[in-house]
């Protein structure tokens, strides 16, 4: 039987209450949202805390997807299923539905949250790659107020984030730019598993020329990583198979996969290349489909 070690259960009634508890209890306490990453780790005794602060009651305040002219704001307690089913995200960022369809399974997606996924900071985690691809920024609240950090600064290393001991991730923001689309692809050993490799791509066209493009990879390094060299290559070019082939080569070269039970390093580099090409191609196709519609 897998059971977590003993801890005191606390239930937060507001963001301020949760932060106050964290402030008082320090590193002996952790927030738990959906619990589908943290509780398994606690059951394996890989994570042990004296206090667990349940923030599920904050879903009423932090479960939202709000589209504004310049950005989409998503509350940290928004659950996977809500991200998958959002018509607003389907329209602006189809990469979300691509990724959500291959994250765990529908029952787990009823529970897991965006904030929990990012704060878990697993290098293989798909939503982190999505947020990296979309150049998201994270709103972190503490007793002194809020601060905003980019995805690059948010993830400090495997299972490490910029969120301090008495702070909490409350919102993720995604800049909206016209003329773009996005896509996500994942190779996994079996349905619902962690990625062997996944790739996300977002691309913007102006008069048939790529005005910007971003690629984010998961499971090929200490963190989900964006690849600036690919963005630099693609900007100002017309989309073509040859161009995406070059982008794939950069992805294969610049990632840092390790051989493990999910696959060999060479295979993972091959996947990084192939999935980069496929997602860039699909993002361009989607821009075309939308223009026709």
């Amino acid at each position: 039987m897998q059971v977590p070690g003993q801890f005191e259960y606390q239930r937060a009634t507001s963001v301020e209450h949760a932060i106050g508890l964290l402030d008082r209890l320090g590193d002996t306490a952790r927030l738990v949202a959906g619990g589908h990453s943290l509780l398994p780790m606690m059951k394996l005794r890989l994570a042990n805390f004296d206090y667990l602060i349940d923030i599920n009651d904050l879903h009423a305040d932090l479960g939202y997807i709000t589209a504004e002219p310049q950005q989409i704001r998503i509350g940290a307690m928004t659950r996977h299923r809500e991200l998958l089913e959002s018509t607003s995200l389907k329209e602006h960022f189809p990469i979300f539905a691509d990724a959500e369809r291959v994250i765990a399974d529908p029952t787990v997606r009823n529970r897991g949250t965006l904030g929990g996924s990012l704060c878990q900071a697993d290098p293989s985690e798909d939503l982190s790659a999505v947020c990296t691809t979309l150049d998201a920024s994270c709103v972190i609240q503490g007793s002194a107020g809020t601060r905003v950090v980019s995805m690059e600064d948010f993830h400090r290393g495997p299972y490490e984030t910029a969120v301090g001991e008495a702070e909490m991730l409350i919102e993720v923001r995604f800049p909206l730019r016209p003329g773009g689309s996005s896509a996500y692809e994942k190779v996994e050993r079996r349905a619902g598993d962690w990625a062997v490799v996944s790739a996300g791509a977002a691309l913007w066209l102006r008069n048939g020329v790529i005005s910007d493009a971003r690629v984010g990879l998961a499971a090929v390094g200490p963190n989900t990583a964006g690849i600036p060299e690919i963005s630099a290559l693609l900007r100002g070019q017309e989309p073509s198979e040859e161009l995406f082939e070059q982008a794939g080569d950069i992805a294969a070269r610049s990632c840092e996969p390790a051989t493990d039970t999910r696959g060999a390093e060479g295979y993972k580099r091959h996947l990084a290349k192939e999935l980069t090409r496929r997602t860039l191609r699909k993002a361009v196709d989607r821009i075309g489909e939308r223009a026709q519609a």
Binding site: M1, L39, D105, N110
Partner: protein
């Protein structure tokens, strides 16, 4: 918490998982305890109307909320159409995965009374059956959908 419409109150350890609370504290052994790693789905119950894996939910998290287990499918002595479908179409052999399968199926039909085979397979994709190859489970859910539509 409210379990199958009845309020229950217990003093429990923070670390007690919902599946063990239901089985050991309340004696509701219809919910099965399987892989313990949120893979197999036999422990699926409803939490506020949504299927969840109760091996990965703390009992304390469900405090003040509504839980529905397989024991709560039956209404006034009559089995739910999903349960009847599993009987009619041989939706089980050993029966281990069955409670979770039926809870997920009921939630699916409540959202979508006429799901496609692909919808049904997607809905139960977080659950494992080692007997049926899923074919008869899909048929059982389709039977329930057709029976409800006929009514």
């Amino acid at each position: 918490m409210i379990v199958n419409g009845e309020e229950v109150t217990r003093e429990i350890e923070g670390r007690l998982l919902l599946v063990h609370f239901l089985r050991e504290e309340l004696g509701l052994t219809g919910t099965h305890w399987g892989c313990d790693t949120s893979n197999c789905g036999t422990c699926v119950v409803w939490l506020d109307g949504e299927p969840v894996k109760s091996c990965t939910v703390l009992a304390a998290m469900a405090g003040g909320h509504e839980v529905r287990t397989v024991e709560g499918l039956e209404r006034n002595g009559e089995l739910d159409p999903v349960q009847q479908g599993f009987i009619a179409c041989h939706g089980l052999q050993c029966g281990f995965c069955t409670p979770g399968m039926m809870m997920t199926a009921r939630a699916l039909l409540d959202r979508d009374p006429d799901p496609s085979e692909a919808d049904i397979r997607e809905a139960i994709s977080g659950q494992i059956c080692r007997c049926t190859g899923y074919a008869t489970i899909v048929r059982s859910v389709q039977w329930a959908a057709a029976t409800e539509a006929a009514k």
